[in-house]
Symmetry: D2
Subunit: 348 residues, 4 copies
């Protein structure tokens, strides 16, 4: 770390700084100059933040701090983290697609969705039972009872389930009953929730806050990595001035993340788009930018969906996207699940 001092910094100021540096167990080297004195601070800087030092009256600028996310940093682990999900491995050359309805609405709807998702060759269904809704008057999800329904659908069909947790008091049960848990965009900096999720041993999809920087995103992951290594980062669009769609899918972030961290990165084109017609180009763009997988909303009957109907795909639209993904994935050396041949069942 380099502290650039104000032009008028005195010997007294420098002595004060040296005492502060030593009190933290750090080493230093001072370069005094007419115009631009500097103090180089050496040692274990992992606990230091720029803000802590910029606040000193003698300090003009602070440079050269190591990146504050240690565990998420690719310098910490060179090879990509691989997280097994069903028969595939996220972070490998597999492209994993998790699809399903925005919300679990009933056992019947959930079962229909599970079968639809399986028929498309997928192993994991998304379905939320706790819904973070902007308005208190909107459908809030089936709650803890929904978790139990998901668990029954899981047993009945063999599908894996992915679902969101919002309340620290629900994390344990969700981790027990679901295969993958998700921290939503509005909770990316709900630090108590992150700490709770760090205590369970389940893969966690951490969605980027819709107005959070890549740096803040990695620091949120760092909270979970304190106890749980299975963190999956999910880019889902950021807030910008554009109103022609819901959020701006940040493919640049995917590019940066794949270099900066060893954690797998997926994208959610459905929430970025906010409408069906934009899901296909966003899904393909995310994969081309290097994403390891996708989270997509598809509903047996979007017109009847209790939430997010506008962006939920019809099954036929989803099939079309899967076909395109297979082609583009192959061009990039990545493999996507194949559709399952229609099984003629005796009983129905």
């Amino acid at each position: 770390m380099v502290l650039i001092l104000h032009q008028g910094a005195t010997s007294q100021d420098i002595d004060f700084m040296i005492r502060r540096i030593q009190a933290r167990g750090l080493d230093y080297a001072v370069y005094r100059a007419a115009v631009r004195s500097q103090i180089h601070v050496l040692g274990d800087l992992s606990g230091e933040t720029e803000a802590d030092w910029r606040t000193q009256p003698a300090v003009k600028e602070v440079y050269g701090l190591p990146k504050p996310y240690r565990l998420a940093n690719r310098t910490h682990r060179r090879s990509s983290t691989r997280i097994p999900i069903g028969s595939q491995e996220l972070g490998s050359s597999d492209l994993i697609v998790i699809a399903g309805p925005c919300a679990l609405e009933s056992e019947e709807q959930g079962l229909a969705a599970a079968r639809m998702v399986q028929s498309l060759g997928l192993e994991v269904m998304r379905a939320s039972v706790f819904k973070p809704r902007t308005s208190p008057y909107s459908f809030q999800g089936l709650g803890r009872e929904g978790l139990r329904i998901l668990s029954r659908i899981r047993e009945a069909t063999g599908i894996l389930v992915e679902t969101e947790v919002m309340d620290v008091r629900d994390v344990e049960l969700a981790a027990e009953l679901a295969d993958v848990i998700r921290v939503g965009t509005r909770n990316m900096q709900n630090f108590d929730l992150l700490r709770e999720v760090a205590l369970v041993q389940r893969p966690v999809i951490l969605k980027r806050g819709m107005a959070n920087t890549i740096r803040e995103f990695l620091l949120a992951a760092e909270y979970i990595l304190q106890g749980n290594e299975q963190v999956i980062l999910c880019e889902r669009g950021i807030r910008s001035f554009e109103t022609a769609y819901r959020n701006t899918l940040d493919v640049g972030a995917i590019g940066i993340l794949k270099q900066e961290t060893h954690l797998p990165v997926i994208a959610d084109p459905s929430h970025a788009a906010g409408n069906k017609i934009l899901v296909r180009p966003l899904a393909l763009a995310a994969i081309a930018a290097g994403a390891d997988g996708l989270l997509i909303e598809v509903h047996p009957n979007p017109a009847e969906a209790l939430s997010d109907g506008a962006q939920s795909l019809y099954p036929s639209q989803f099939e079309d996207i899967m076909a395109a993904l297979r082609h583009v994935g192959a061009a990039l050396g990545r493999s996507v699940a194949e559709p399952v041949p229609v099984r003629v069942s005796a009983g129905g």
Copy 2:
């Protein structure tokens, strides 16, 4: 609500829509035209959301839904809500300033801060014990023990305390020991926390999410208003492309909120600024735009602060701002607390 139908909408489509409208207990009127058929939907629309209807295949556009925040809406309550805080009343012509350090660091620092704040004529001190920190390696606050320290400072000095809650499991204790509780910017859409805060009878400062719209802000307030009427809205700067300061204080939002809701509105110039030198112009601008009060960081010794030192004011800077606030407040017909004459105490 007006549903504009797609040009090709058939009688069958319209019949389907009518059944859906009736199933929700609503009334309707259909205007068929060559170019632009419409269905007007009448009745209690408070449970309807635009998304629910836009998702219908026959519907092109949805207009004219009532504002989704019912209780926060000024049409619900014409006169401004007044919330007594100490001897003043937020939402009246009083301008209330709540000041203090970013975080409670120790009982000693808290006591010094309380006395400093009182000497400036203020009745309420801000001090956080639960700190939402971007990095897991930064100082996280004194936690529940901090709440008890605050309570002792409160008793020792007579000062009122304002403090943040982050975890649903801490709300009850915080509401018991503090005079005003705060939901921070990163938790504005932590709906479980909002629901918990709705259950206590304390004034709650709800800070606007740094990337949330005014509409989302009022809907978050609506969650709390389900059970707790003492909601104070706090504008604290939004994310923009500008990097010369931390966040863009949105004075336009203050103007809109004062028209749109009966709830009191305050501003936090310290967190918007991110540096000492910008606090004064932002504080004055917020008041000129119509804010009812301010939340300001001031620290007995900012260079030693464990967090937010860069933006915490020295006591002398804060006094200067208070003087300017008195002048500008008076020009706008609003009164600010007067400084307390120095008390010569016998014992110390």
Copy 3:
């Protein structure tokens, strides 16, 4: 167009509105209701703007205006506009890549760049002679003399050249000497320049303003389309709060534009990225989202470039991207130029 009237609108108000509508040669139908009276305005609405009507005291909301860009709208021309560029056709299944240095620095550098670009199989070189530089103290380009150098390079090598115009007084000469002209991001709403460019018959690349909406983008194209049909839209990244790269490449805009307009759409990953390492993922993402081509900065020696060295690719990096583009393009049914076999020349 539907005008929703304020609740208190009187018969007199409605009569006033009717006179205003008739004065514009438009027809109308009035729906009076207790809660929500409406006036439907019919006829040729292409000259009407929302702002003109929203300003009327009796009007609460204005809905249903046709899109204000008539010529750019895909409803105006169903089939995609194709613009021949060399032996390829932009807007067809061809993927066209235009590459070269940010700026023309000298005849020697320009010649080297042209030969490098040709050896990669490309037919068009980008090179700016008028440089819109943020600082008056930065290299401003070679100016009109640069245009003449470009023209000589064109003759010597057979390469086509693409270059930016900034000043209305240079448009005629640029259109005469270059094959494709470009309006830069800072000039997207320089309406006098757009009007001038509408007068020449050359393909024009119109770059999206870095903070302009898709709607404003299409309206800027509409200015050029008044006289010049060969408009190529170029997405080049928008301003957001993220600082890990320069601008946020808006792949969603590419998706929307391909549906909304018949004009070809290309992307500039170099300016969005602002650094070499992000150009590849952004280039691939743009193509996957549906772009018809790319504008890429590549320099024979980026470390010596007079501008934009940080984001200019080394030739070998560019070759690698071209190879990936061929694979992904093929997966999407699009063809990219093949590299030219090395020609052994006698003289050198």
Copy 4:
């Protein structure tokens, strides 16, 4: 300037850098270290840009360049620049309000506006004759003929006029016929226009681009300052994600600008607001944040305005704002023009 080198930088790399530094006539000092070698570059750095050095392969980071705007910098001129406008002086304790219609629509409308503005005690009227309109189908202004009408109104009433220039070919005439010229928000980085405006000796209002940083704003001013010292900076709202008003008035920018530059700073609350009702809070906030003046749209009859009717004030609304400005201005030690007593004229 400090160049931080990559960890693997060799002696050869350093020699290469030294040659480059010397070729620019600069001095240097090298600090080699195991982890973090640096080259300090000394001398006249005013022509250096960060981008030029960051592009070097051995360079990891570039720090400590002086601010690139030399003439606009307050270090260049400590005392605030004062620009006489009528009997007032912008940049002094005077608060100057320039008001009038968005556009000149006819000689009659212009005369009525001039008399209205004068009756409110103001000396300068704004009125545009060249209109930068988003759509080619909107009213584009009266053009050069409008300039001559303005000139006649000026002679007939004695009012001063402020008007926008868009085309480099109109600058000379506009500077001859108007008292203050304006570069609009869409042209802030139209560098050819800035260069042209630098050649005339008239006060120039430079509006901040709606998505430009404060740094870019000052660099645009720097272009004009190359030849014309009378630059007035105007904050007019920036693009953000909020849609409840048109643009976010950036009062923080006003605070920063007043510290960073000696140039006077004004604000345009009308264009930020986009609607009448928000003009008052924004105008007062701008003044409280330190602005030296305001640019406000007021129209004799907003409902009939050919442009910007939604945000143009009725004369009575404007009078109310002027009264509040006088009070708040006085609280801040600044004086605003007094209204002129109604003159009873014989003829009318």
